[in-house]
Symmetry: C2
Subunit: 596 residues, 2 copies
Amino acid sequence: MSKRVTSLNEQSHPFTANFPGSTKVYVTGSRPDIKVPMREIGLSPTTGTFGEAENPPVRVYDTSGPFTDPDYAVDIAKGLPAIKSIWIQERGDVEEYDGREIKPQDNGYRNENDPRTHQHVFPGLKRKPLRAKKGKNATQLHYARKGIITPEMEFIAIRESMKPEFVRDEVAAGRAIIPSNINHPEAEPMIIGRNFHVKINANIGNSAVSSSIEDEVEKMTWATRWGADNIMDLSTGKNIHTTREWIIRNSPVPVGTVPIYQALEKVNGVAEDLTWEIYRDTLIEQAEQGVDYFTIHAGVLLRYVPLTAKRLTGIVSRGGSIMAQWCLYHHKESFLYTHFEEICEIMKSYDISFSLGDGLRPGSIADANDEAQFAELETLGELTKIAWKHDVQVMIEGPGHVPMHLIKENMDKQLEVCQEAPFYTLGPLTTDIAPGYDHITSAIGAAMIGWYGTAMLCYVTPKEHLGLPNKNDVREGVITYKIAAHAADLAKGHPGAHIRDDALSKARFEFRWRDQFNLSLDPERAIEYHDETLPAEGAKTAHFCSMCGPKFCSMRISQDIRKYASDNHLDTKEAIENGLKEKAEQFKQSGSKIYQ
Amino acid sequence: MSKRVTSLNEQSHPFTANFPGSTKVYVTGSRPDIKVPMREIGLSPTTGTFGEAENPPVRVYDTSGPFTDPDYAVDIAKGLPAIKSIWIQERGDVEEYDGREIKPQDNGYRNENDPRTHQHVFPGLKRKPLRAKKGKNATQLHYARKGIITPEMEFIAIRESMKPEFVRDEVAAGRAIIPSNINHPEAEPMIIGRNFHVKINANIGNSAVSSSIEDEVEKMTWATRWGADNIMDLSTGKNIHTTREWIIRNSPVPVGTVPIYQALEKVNGVAEDLTWEIYRDTLIEQAEQGVDYFTIHAGVLLRYVPLTAKRLTGIVSRGGSIMAQWCLYHHKESFLYTHFEEICEIMKSYDISFSLGDGLRPGSIADANDEAQFAELETLGELTKIAWKHDVQVMIEGPGHVPMHLIKENMDKQLEVCQEAPFYTLGPLTTDIAPGYDHITSAIGAAMIGWYGTAMLCYVTPKEHLGLPNKNDVREGVITYKIAAHAADLAKGHPGAHIRDDALSKARFEFRWRDQFNLSLDPERAIEYHDETLPAEGAKTAHFCSMCGPKFCSMRISQDIRKYASDNHLDTKEAIENGLKEKAEQFKQSGSKIYQ
């Protein structure tokens, strides 16, 4: 690995500092090793004309992992601590074994002796992989159905302010999943289900055209710092295996992949040369590394493919088009479909969750909710039942490009045909005409479908349709999707979702500028924008802002009104009608002269 | 005026160039002086593997005015041509008169002889103001109700691809307004109503803290270039009168103001010193300049004010808090309410539209849809009836901060209590926690409420709550709101709205990169982002992009599928079932080998 990445532990890297005003705290569960991280935002007291009162700190969901813990010495060449190892081991249903050998093809090299195969290899501790013992099933769904509340479930209950039994019940019903490969013990437990906080996923990954291992590791820490609950590694170029190893060993959040991407590299990009054997080997390879969920496009059936021919934009899912090509060429159903039960056997040995891919999702407004899309969704519903038969956790991927009036139909149909398995959507984009702003065209659809019941939103960056996201695009995409997810939590009435809004609005109202910045999703951006007009330190405590200036401020008038109503007991409609007249004179004498 | 602004006509200013691939065209109506501007985006032909076909140009709504007409010599010191003057004059119901004298106070100066009063004065042609003759009514609503289709209505019908009679009927019913002060003959006719394209407004204006006349004129041309259908001049500092004159004389779109802002400056910021006489004088001052609509917070009644006392964020509307302060101090209903009929008399003499302000709009999620907000809305409904009695055009302003699940209630209630007068909303913001990104928090709400029936969306820039927008913020805000408005048009099924989406998606699918950029809302951003990864000129015609690279591309597979389905007549479900088997072999020989 290059110096740039390993040196992270030598210097005080900006990623490892917490946000201003924030402290990392842990809430301990029923056993000392259940330590749930939260970010506590300290607030200053209310003072002066607003009365005198303490403002309790606000605790927010924290996805940044140990990186923001000042007591943790970051060393990405070592990887994160394996916080879940004991829980996994003590259940007694898994075993270590000698894993598969790494091959040159895993990193995209043809020559069996290519020295680049072992270049940049992750230098940290190499554990032997785990798998379920013969006849055992190591999935959270399996435990949930047996009535067991795992430490993972308890961790999540604390994280989401829910009861452990509720978490278990949602998982048992298939309405929520806990992606948690037993070979990714570094990840903090996280749940995806519509009765919990709406989650977001950030895609990273190199491609044939651009970027490097170190960039991708940096993007992962960056994305989780800003709030990504999940990341997907969608690498398609060289060094896929090695890049993934670095990412997983350092990721505090679950990691998803689309295994067919790597399998395609192994057959040099020729879709029809793919075989079940190559694919299966890739699944094992990634399972042993610790990938938490696999996107598998098993719903692309041969007879659905020609349904896309009359579309404006055909098949836009990369995985979908690979499988379509394969099906047509061989004129049979894909190995993903015909070997689905075998795939389930693998998934349950490692507790990898399915993310059943929507290979036929619409790539334009014109193609939304068409026959091809919904035909595939029906098949995904059937596959869900099969996976559940094996106690394998499942979520379902959704579109894509959908105008607002067709979004709810997607959600309702998904809940119906997939028996309430969690929905995981990309956007959807609500118009096609704004490349460069597709984080916004899609945040509109994402917020809405999140409200309607989608459990996880896959972010879209401003570069969508145009190029690969850089670090700033990742930040922009993550924050935009945190907005969509939080707007959905508010609209769903998720308990406690409004606390941060209320605290921020109260700070705004009381001109506690620092608190307003610190409570915001992106404190750095907020302060930067504020300081563009009023950079002086004094403006951070000023009872005005640059919008109206110091002479007149509506917030201050509101304070007057509040004082007036309180002093005069005008707190009900009746009191207002009766009391206004006699109190008017007093008001003239009292607080109305603050505007000089 | 400083050199910087007047020199616009000397140099080739970037604002005056059209977008790449675009041409300014005019569609002529029933008379030669009805010349409706449109931007025609030329497209390249489809070629190669995608077949051979011409792609017709796409015409889009054009708000940029003569600035983007290559035959027009821009001179902002002269102002735009008065395209509507003949229409206004030939109706025979208006007269010229000696307007009000400009006073030092109009520009915020106290001293009667302050030389700054006449500094920077607009040097162009000074027309005498027009007003309706005694006993006449010069409003578009008045004409519409008399069954007259004005040239303004015909212009709009062409612009919106509707029938002139439909335009007249919507205006007559009060469901749509055409803001068109007879003293702003430079503005191109534009309609606000929910059965037309959703419109957007961009706020500009200087404040006590920041910015200058030239910045504001530049922001206006900038905002309309990116697609603002309206601008509001919300200036609050010095030189309000002069700034507004420069803006109006150069604005191809209607201009709105909040007259109480200027009136407050005239009483040195002391709300309780405001009088009907000062306010009335300000209305006349602005009416003679040509302001097309006035935001008037006449619904802030005395008894509603204490209803805001228990709110988390009180009154956040500047106009609302000014009036609340006034009402409480004097203990009477505001002069906006008590003199409402006299205001109507002024409005109808100039055809100024009401934008009935929501002085009690919620400033936080916690305060959404509360008693204060809805009480005021009821009053706005009553005032609408009074305005309509005078044939004065009315729209109603709406919130603010509203979580998604409460948005529809706002729209439904507004339609009901305001008898379908057009709704004009600020956002709404769907969460409070993202200062720095409030263009996005609000675009979510704006798109939804636009779909539900809001006729115009007031933009929010990334600087909302933090500072005054600069030029880049204006662009960001306008494009974000064009997205929201267009998403709403699509969801409402507005005829033709999908044409641009479909053309862009087809271009994307066929790798016509230039066409994709040119059809987008912000071609400059699209090309900039694309070129970050693939700057070479060849990449603009390449049949791949940086996301997947040249080796494998889902778009190309889709082309294969299309060819396969077409060659094999697999165009119905039945044909697919029957035909797949026998056609498989042929496919292997044909087009499946393009992935090397």
